[in-house]
């Protein structure tokens, strides 16, 4: 029997939803444990092994100086580091606060801010080298399994980079932008969810972050054309990936009038 790869799971600034998605693998979870040892997972295990790991799945963005030190330590002890979910990739929803002054954000939440040592929320890739990313808020269970299997087989995982529109068309859905004039983020958002929201008549919110090579400025112009205000559009692009280079211009709202 080949030695099982050791997995560690960490959480920084985020909601723990990505880890929860791992637990939701209930029906195949025991099969996964045949293939991997989970050596570090504070959310689930009492005894955690802090030696080196083959794969680290890191959830959450980095928002304090302490977290910077921790992620650097994890990197040192990890062979293969995965940014697990949108927060670890680019800050995701917590990064909405990056758009207002730090003190203002702190004062809105904490009565006493003297013990808060917080800074802008950014993805772990700002501080350490990342080997793979799992998009999504949270990532879809199938993409998690695909990545882990590919790691064992030593092949490139088949992770989708194309837009939600592809999966939406596969489900025979009429386009929400053209038929319902809804501000759907599908055309710039990475697929992987199976177009869940559009299939239920809800516009895509963009929770898988930017697709490969999105034309964000064109979509912003389309939203404006169907009647959305510039503030609405700005919020759309800030919600899940405002820190990303792909959406930065639209999130900042510097696009052409």
């Amino acid at each position: 029997m080949v030695k099982k790869p050791k997995i560690a799971i960490f959480k920084f600034t985020g909601c723990a939803g990505c880890q929860l998605e791992l637990l939701h693998l209930e029906d195949i979870f025991l099969d996964l444990l045949e293939l991997f040892d989970i050596n570090y997972w504070v959310m689930v295990k009492r005894d955690n092994d802090e030696k080196e790991w083959d794969i680290s799945l890191v959830e959450g963005g980095i928002s304090t100086p302490k977290e910077i030190e921790e992620i650097k330590q994890i990197r040192k002890k990890t062979k293969f580091l995965v940014a697990f979910g949108d927060c670890a990739i680019g800050g995701c929803i917590p990064s909405i606060r990056n758009w207002i002054p730090q003190m203002e954000a702190e004062n809105q939440v904490y009565p006493d801010t003297s013990t808060i040592h917080s800074m802008k929320v950014l993805g772990i890739g700002e501080y350490v080298k990342v080997d793979a990313i799992l998009k999504g808020c949270p990532p879809h269970r199938e993409t998690i399994v695909e990545l882990l299997k590919s790691a064992l087989l030593k092949i490139r995982p088949r992770l989708k980079q194309h837009p939600v529109c592809v999966e939406c068309k596969f489900r025979d859905n009429a386009c929400l932008i053209t038929s319902k004039k809804m501000a759907c983020m599908g055309p710039v958002t990475s697929a992987g969810c199976g177009a869940i929201c559009p299939s239920l008549g809800r516009e895509c919110e963009g929770c898988f972050g930017p697709m490969s090579n999105p034309n964000a400025s064109a979509l912003a112009s389309i939203f404006k054309d169907i009647g959305f205000s510039e503030d609405d559009i700005k919020r759309k692009f800030r919600k899940y990936a405002g820190m990303s280079s792909e959406f930065q211009k639209e999130a900042l709202h510097e696009w052409k009038k």
């Binding site: 099969d31 299997k149 837009p163 025979d172 053209t178 034309n215 400025s217 064109a218």
Partner: protein, 346 residues
């Protein structure tokens, strides 16, 4: 072959006959956003539809299908092919979509026989329906693929008022109406069909002249139009392309697909699958070490338009049938007929 008529109110007679032999699929909603779904009773059927989101291509080249399964046991490798053999009948398919199937037939039985596609086609019956009301986006007339049909059907229906005119195209069609006690069509029914064709032809708002277009498009690689479509301002009131690929998935003649293996958690067995792909996606033309033949958006939209103008595979296989789905679905309002016009203007 002789023609028949059936009262619109009695269409259930035909449907019940079809259901004896086939799983029947047809348009299930009125309007332009209809879909082809399974029909089990006549109330579900909406022959008054204008267009569907996905074309009937989905029955013969599904968005995702399993080709075979594989297994390694004691060092021995075995495969098990999955052969589609279900008998299906598509009811109410418009002439443009029938022409598209004829084009796909050519592609999937050209240099290579695609048995998955061919089996599905062999096991299917096509009950076509002539168009008496064009969609605002369609331009089949200018491409000779509609609005009325001359080939590719087992049975052809035409709305001639309170009745459908039934024309038979194949022995399958003949068998399916045999013994149903339908009335023979009269000279007048054919006159009415002719009259409706003439009326219909006047209703088209769009057209596309594709003669020499592939050549024109190829010789104008640096035409402003490709830059406008790719990043800048769009063409004829459109926005720039989003590269979302919707146009290619709703296109009844786009056949590009990707093949991949899915291994299960035993790491010893799995399936080989194929999934529709799109030349509008960045990953489509990606090769080893991150090379990409069409990294720029403008090159991708140029490639697709050229293909639809009839240039793909040496001009043998692709081209457009004028169904108008790509125009309807495009969030950027890109209109292939306007692009063609702009190119002709030079």
């Amino acid at each position: 072959m002789k023609a028949l008529i059936i009262e619109k109110n009695s269409m259930n007679i035909l449907l019940e006959r079809f259901l004896e032999e086939y799983r029947v699929f047809g348009p299930t909603k009125p309007g332009s956003d209809s879909t082809f779904d399974e029909i089990k009773s006549i109330e579900q059927l909406h022959l008054d539809y204008i267009s569907t989101v996905l074309p009937p291509k989905k029955f013969f080249l599904p968005p995702n299908e399993t080709l075979f399964s594989f297994n390694i046991k004691n060092g021995k490798f075995t495969t098990k092919e999955i052969r589609p053999d279900e008998k299906i009948l598509i009811l109410g398919i418009h002439p443009c979509d029938v022409h598209a199937l004829l084009k796909l037939d050519k592609f999937f039985s050209g240099d290579f026989n695609d048995l998955y596609y061919q089996n599905r086609r062999k096991n299917s019956a096509i009950i076509a329906l002539n168009c008496v009301e064009p969609s605002e986006h369609s331009f089949c007339r200018s491409l000779g693929t509609g609005p009325f049909l001359n080939e590719g059907y087992d049975i052809l229906l035409t709305d001639v008022g309170t009745n459908y005119l039934i024309e038979i195209g194949t022995s399958t069609g003949k068998r399916l109406v045999k013994g149903l006690n339908l009335t023979n069509a009269s000279e007048e029914d054919f006159h009415e069909k002719e009259r409706r064709l003439k009326l219909m032809e006047k209703k088209f708002k769009k057209s596309m002249n594709i003669s020499w277009l592939p050549k024109i498009a190829r010789e104008n690689l640096d035409h402003d139009i490709w830059f406008d479509l790719g990043e800048r301002g769009g063409v004829a009131g459109s926005f720039p392309c989003l590269s979302c690929g919707s146009c290619t998935f709703v296109c009844p003649t786009c056949y590009c697909y990707e093949v991949y293996d899915a291994v299960d958690l035993s790491l010893k067995s799995g399936t080989r699958n194929r999934e529709l792909d799109s030349c509008q996606l960045l990953e489509y033309a990606e090769v080893a070490l991150g090379g990409n033949f069409r990294r720029d958006r403008k090159d991708r939209i140029h490639h697709w338009m050229l293909c639809k103008f009839g240039a793909a595979a040496g001009g043998k296989n692709s081209s457009c049938v004028g169904c108008g789905r790509c125009i309807r679905v495009c969030p950027s309002k890109i209109d292939i007929t306007e692009v063609a016009k702009a190119l002709r203007r030079g």
